[in-house]
């Protein structure tokens, strides 16, 4: 029987070589979770990355409640911009880079992709800086933590386990609740908080202006539009289900900004009140003292670590996808290195460079954070203009073009964003 079976193995049908159910089984199981948490919420959580936590902490610590009023307009702008991308993804079935390439040709696409690549490299460096800062609180040297983190991120994708780990990251985002609780425990003057939320308190001071722009810039970054649209396409959301997709985007944006608000409130109620400036990650952690007491540093480190690693996993991969799709190179983590050399090359280069820069002695971390903001700021106006041009194309969007009112809000928002980012670039340079 056994030998016969062996001889028969030559006749084994070709299906044998197919392992479709390997992936099938666990993807199916994941669907339960992933179906609820959509691309909008994931994008929002990646948005609160190392740069986000740092900026919001600094805003609260230096300016107290006086920057809270910016958050409502930022939410509106974020929703308007992200919704247009999600809509384009659903209607055209194509990513933003693909659409720009197909409608506006090679040259424009090439320069936008180069800018996106540089901006996201700087962003990736900032994420690895976040990892280093978080683990230094636990006394882990960056010469140990950074190579390990870079390897881990690379492994996630190469072994196709990213989807599983994504849920771990998302669950770990519950950490943001720590700011919520801390914010409450610090007993801020809620009346004042609410007033400051709605009453603009504009100050014509250089540092105040820079901080305002930083808050806006870190909340609305160009990678988010590319990432969200690709994720919506990847998920294959149908027009009939677009309503849910829109809710997902709106909920995601609101969650992102609520988290930002509580980080600011927690920092304002503690650090600002006690006139403690933030110089290191340890200082920023003290905003969590009302909740965690002496463990606040550990809690903060954990949250910063998760946020940084999450973003560091998403950014290089989505950048490599975007750039390769825009320029027509083969993509896909299931491809062999030989089949998609540009894709793997870009992906690996982003991680290697992103982590290597951190390891250089006397590396100007702060300068890189600023540089990433500048590059984001230079890129954003172009991205916004292309989004608006594309979303209003009747031949692409059919009846899903912007309505006149929506266009008014969208162009207004974009004009404001462009003005702000130009100011930021000017201020930083």
């Amino acid at each position: 029987m056994e030998t016969e079976a062996r001889q028969l193995s030559r006749f084994v049908p070709r299906r044998l070589s197919r392992l479709s159910f390997v992936r099938g089984a666990f993807v199916a199981r994941l669907l339960g979770i992933v179906a609820i948490i959509g691309p909008g919420i994931i994008t929002a959580n990646v948005d609160n990355d190392a740069g986000g936590i740092t900026t919001y902490s600094l805003a609260g610590a230096q300016f107290g409640y006086s920057l809270l009023w910016t958050l409502i307009p930022v939410t509106v702008a974020l929703i308007v911009i992200q919704e247009m991308c999600a809509r384009m993804g659903v209607v055209t079935g194509k990513g933003l880079a693909d659409l720009i390439r197909e409608q506006y040709g090679v040259k424009v696409t090439f320069y936008i992709m180069v800018a996106l690549l540089l901006a996201n490299l700087a962003n990736t460096i900032a994420e690895f800086a976040g990892v280093a800062a978080a683990l230094e609180i636990f006394g882990v040297s960056k010469y140990l933590s950074i190579p390990a983190a870079a390897l881990f991120v690379w492994w996630l994708v190469v072994y196709g386990t990213y989807r599983r780990v994504e849920n771990v990251f998302l669950i770990a985002c519950v950490f943001y609740a720590a700011y919520l609780i801390s914010g409450f425990l610090a007993r801020p003057a809620w009346g004042e908080v609410l007033t400051r939320m709605v009453v603009p308190d504009f100050q014509w001071r250089g540092d105040y202006l820079v901080m305002t722009i930083a808050v806006v810039g870190t909340t609305i970054a160009p990678w988010m539009q590319f990432y969200l649209q690709s994720a919506v396409v990847e998920k294959g959301i149908r027009l009939a289900d677009y309503r849910y997709c829109r809710y997902d985007v709106i909920v995601g944006c609101v969650v992102a900004v609520v988290v930002a608000m509580f980080i600011m409130v927690a920092c304002a109620a503690t650090l600002y009140q006690e006139h403690l400036p933030i110089q290191t990650a340890q200082d920023a952690a003290r905003a969590l003292a009302p909740l965690a007491g002496k463990y606040c540093a550990a809690l903060f480190a954990f949250g910063l670590f998760n946020a940084s690693l999450f973003a560091a996993s998403v950014l290089p991969l989505s950048t490599a996808y975007c750039v390769c799709e825009g320029l027509g190179w083969e993509t896909g983590i299931d491809k062999k290195l030989r089949e998609a050399p540009q894709f793997f090359g870009l992906y690996t280069a982003l991680i290697v460079l992103g982590s290597l820069f951190i390891l250089l002695p006397h590396f100007p971390l702060l300068a890189i954070m600023y540089l990433s903001q500048v590059l984001n700021g230079i890129l954003l106006p172009f991205v916004l203009i292309f989004i608006l041009l594309l979303v209003n194309r009747q031949d692409l969007m059919g009846s899903y073009v912007n309505s006149r009112t929506y266009n008014l809000i969208a162009w207004g928002t974009s004009a404001l964003m462009i003005a702000l980012t130009l100011m930021m670039v000017g201020a930083l340079l």
């Binding site: 299906r15 390997v22 089984a25 072994y159």
Partner: protein, 442 residues
Amino acid sequence: MAGNGDERFIAQAVHGFVFFSTLLNKPVFDAAGVFVGRLSDLAVSLAAMFPPVVDFVVQRGRWEPFPLTGRWSDVADFEGEAIHLGVDIRALTPAKPYTSGEILVREVLLDKQIVDMSGAKVVRVNDLHFLKLGQSDLRLVHVDVGTRGLVRRMGWEQAIDGLLRRVAPRARYLGADRLIRWQYVQPLSLDASVQSIRLSVLQRQLGELHPADIAEILTDLDTHDRARMFRSLDPETAADALAEVEDPRIQTQLLETVSQDHAADILEEMPPDEAADLLSELPPETTTALLHKMEVEEAQDVRELLTYPPDTAGGMMTTELVALPADLTVGEAFARLREVAPEVENIYYVFVIDGTGRLVGVLTLRSLILAQPETRLRDIAIENPARVHHTDSHDSVAEIVEKYDLLALPVVDDHERLIGMITVDDVLSHIASQAWKRKLGS
């Protein structure tokens, strides 16, 4: 190119190749030398095997939105610094939309995704390659999907080539044009009337591709193109391809893009266990509706399979198998095998059952071939074969298949009646996913 001998040179001179990027945006002058505008597009006729250029389109200027169009045969010279027409500017007409078997190459092909049928890949077009057959006979022969095409479009070809020749004259890049012959190009953004012309070509070529390749093409396409291509497949090809698509999300998405009647046809063509797996991913009301539309017999098989929980042997098995009565002779068995073989996925094992459907033995195709035609099956069957109960776990199935080196394992019910079999490919999938989990766990 130089130094390849005179013959080659003459051949090149008569039949030169022209890249679209070198024509695009070239200034256009009419017969009187009046500047008309810049070349913005070419129309080709799809009727011929290598589509000839029939029309050209000229953009008048940045602020003049209405382009002009003229016959390509009116072009006197296009190889110099500018394109010179043999006619007056008044011979040109306002550009029109193309529908009847002609396409605008820039609108439909340039920068767009196409399917490369020779490599079974979805690729993006960087440039178009024309062959000059005569004075005004320009044929589309290749699309360029390589990095050289990209560089040429950026306008850096000469600079980069010059630099590379000096620095690394043997660089692979210098000879690495990636051109795809037009016959193997399947454009995606065509409207319906033009699409139908290419569709016959597409279907013939798709028939030659392995279903796994079609599945990969489908996976690589964006949602709309994916749906369009899937709809154009005949039910049998669609079923094979669908079974090969790895991502269940894409599988269900594809099935939802076709009409329910078409979907039912496709499901009938699939092995029942695959069909059941796919249906179990769909919303219950869709599953019911599709089962209702399927042929009664096929639907019955699938419905039965759907009743078994997915994590049991029953959920893993297929009902398509060869089961023959024990008192049949080998000769009769062959006759029956010939009848059922086209329908059944795996005929290498023949199960022997008694009058009540109980499993009494198993035969391999090999032992059947070696036996005398008049021998009865009960005499040569291996009695008491390894089997599993339909409630057994996947792990125990894998264990038994591995232990006895089986290609297929029979599944029985409480009364030892044969109800299905599990083939080794499904077991392998299970083992691989276990291995995956172990790797994650560590």
